[in-house]
Amino acid sequence: MNDTMSRYRTMTGHRLFWPAAVLFVMLAANTIYRPGFLSIELKDGHLYGTPIDILRLSAPLILVALGMTLVISTGGIDLSVGSLCAISGAIACMYISKQPDQNSVGVVVTALAMALGVSLVLGAWNGVLVAVIGIQPIIATLILMVAGRGLAQLITEGQIITINSEPYRAIGLGHALTLPLAIFIALAAALLVAAFTRRTALGMIIESVGGNAMASRLAGIRSGRVIFLVYVISAACAAVAGFMMTANVSSADGNAAGLWVELDAILAVVIGGTSLAGGRFFLSGTIIGALIIQTLTTTVYAMDISPQTSLLFKAVVVIAVCLIQAPAFRARFSRRRRNAPPPATIADKPKEQVPA
């Protein structure tokens, strides 16, 4: 009895338990509402079904959120990712649309390289503003968030650029091993980031900079470089996400592409258990967070919840997820219910703001 109890404690105490539970409940609710929700069939050699849609559609958000996780773990924030998605997609589509042979792989690779290059420069701009000049991250990246969308519209001349390029389309809609390519791209990015942060000291260095930049510097870590680096990584992730978004509809819309994705990404990071104050990060949690957000959107469409109420519905679910996530809230809740002393929950102490 005691054994089961303690095992239950360990399981529910795992930081991924609650986000995963929420995801499970959402999928279950959908399946009850529409029994075919989870069904997957093979169509033209591709797997076809709502779960596949959710994975494919959450791929861009996963990418953006991965970069955001690293930025947030240094105690920063990157508001410019949505605009960067729009810019990278716009540059790539604009270049391809001007070429005589849009189906040439060479053209697409050039377009991707150009767009990625510009995005890296813009990421470096963010990095310099934050790490070198010392502007507050929320302000520094706000500049590019606002200016970037204008830049994207400038590139597309206010029009929606439609392209007809199979290789480019494949980024969003291609298939490999019966699954959408986008899923593999997001997975590869996740593994790459995980390998670099968890198999080397980089992750710990990032966390230490987020925990206390000054102390890290005194310990011999070049904090400025680490902070600069995470903004560049974030921009690179956003650029690839921008390719996926535009490839998904074979067109670049400077106005709408990646709109508000920065907020979704921040939410995914928070749901995943990464502290907004910096100092620790959980990549797997972020991925589950992104899946929850996409599942939520898909739920609204699948259940045909009216557009007027869908925002409220989403807000209620998000609040519930965040509360369930918070150890302090769970402790209070279980204390009331059992009328017993709370389990020793180690609530995260709010981090003191340390001037860098």
Partner: protein
Amino acid sequence: MGKMRTQSAPWRAAAVLASVLLVGGVAACGNSDTGGGGTKDDGKITMGFSQVGAESGWRTANTISIKEAATAAGIELKFDDAQQKQENQIKAIRNYIQQKVDVIAFSPVVESGWDTVLKEAKDAGIPVILTDRSVDSADKSLYKTFLGSDFVKEGKLAGEWLVEQKKTASGPVNIVELQGSTGAAPANDRKKGFAEAIAANPNLKVIASQTGDFTRAGGKQVMEQFLKANPKIDVLFAHNDDMGLGALEAITAAGKVPGKDITIITIDAVKDGMQALADGKFNFIAECSPLLGPQLMDLAKKVKAGQEVPPRIETEETTFTTEQAKEALPNRKY
């Protein structure tokens, strides 16, 4: 001073005139965006136009149409882009009042909050024409007329075509609807017009209706779920071409043939939409034309000449079927 007194009267008058012109010129240079001098009474009409912004292809075509029509009509146009901010529009309108233009025209960013600045224009005796979007001022005398599309009518035209097509249908016809951005006037009105028109045939039923935010990505994502939740969809009604274009991909991915298995009706008639219609992927488009420049210039001339104009004027619009789209496509400007 003494020297001044010796100057003859004509000289003095000329000096005054010169300084007035100089000051006027400097003041005008201050607003380089809306530059140019005041109105000289040479019979040439000067129009100040404040555009919403450049948020969509539709808007860009709208701007080009107004600029071209002004040149063609010999009207001097002072153009201002408000970048989707009301304060910019109010500033621009005040500039136009100061410059004493003959006519002020603008597409309001939002519906409310225009009474003060419109009253200033009225007091200065400058007629105002609204284009594309209206204002909610109770005092209708603040503007001469509102030139723009009738969104309800667009929805109605789409619905009426469907009723005509399906009049022989014996069983139920399942319709899914992709709405525009929640709360936007074109979304509300098109939905209303369509619902009114299809009420004529009880077999026509909207089984699902969701917002796709007027974007291709939104239209696609919603359509994917519609297709999975509803095994039998006969008709798709999208509030604009872009959502319809996004939905095309979802329909193809589901192994259905757009335009055949599912009848697709949209509104707008932008170039990509017209191409899809000509290719037989769409079945019907009700036009929402951004090309209101020529009508606007006509109105400006009438208003300037003191003629009465009706308080509400609809943009000249039409509808397209596949055959008509094939014909019209080579001459489309946007």
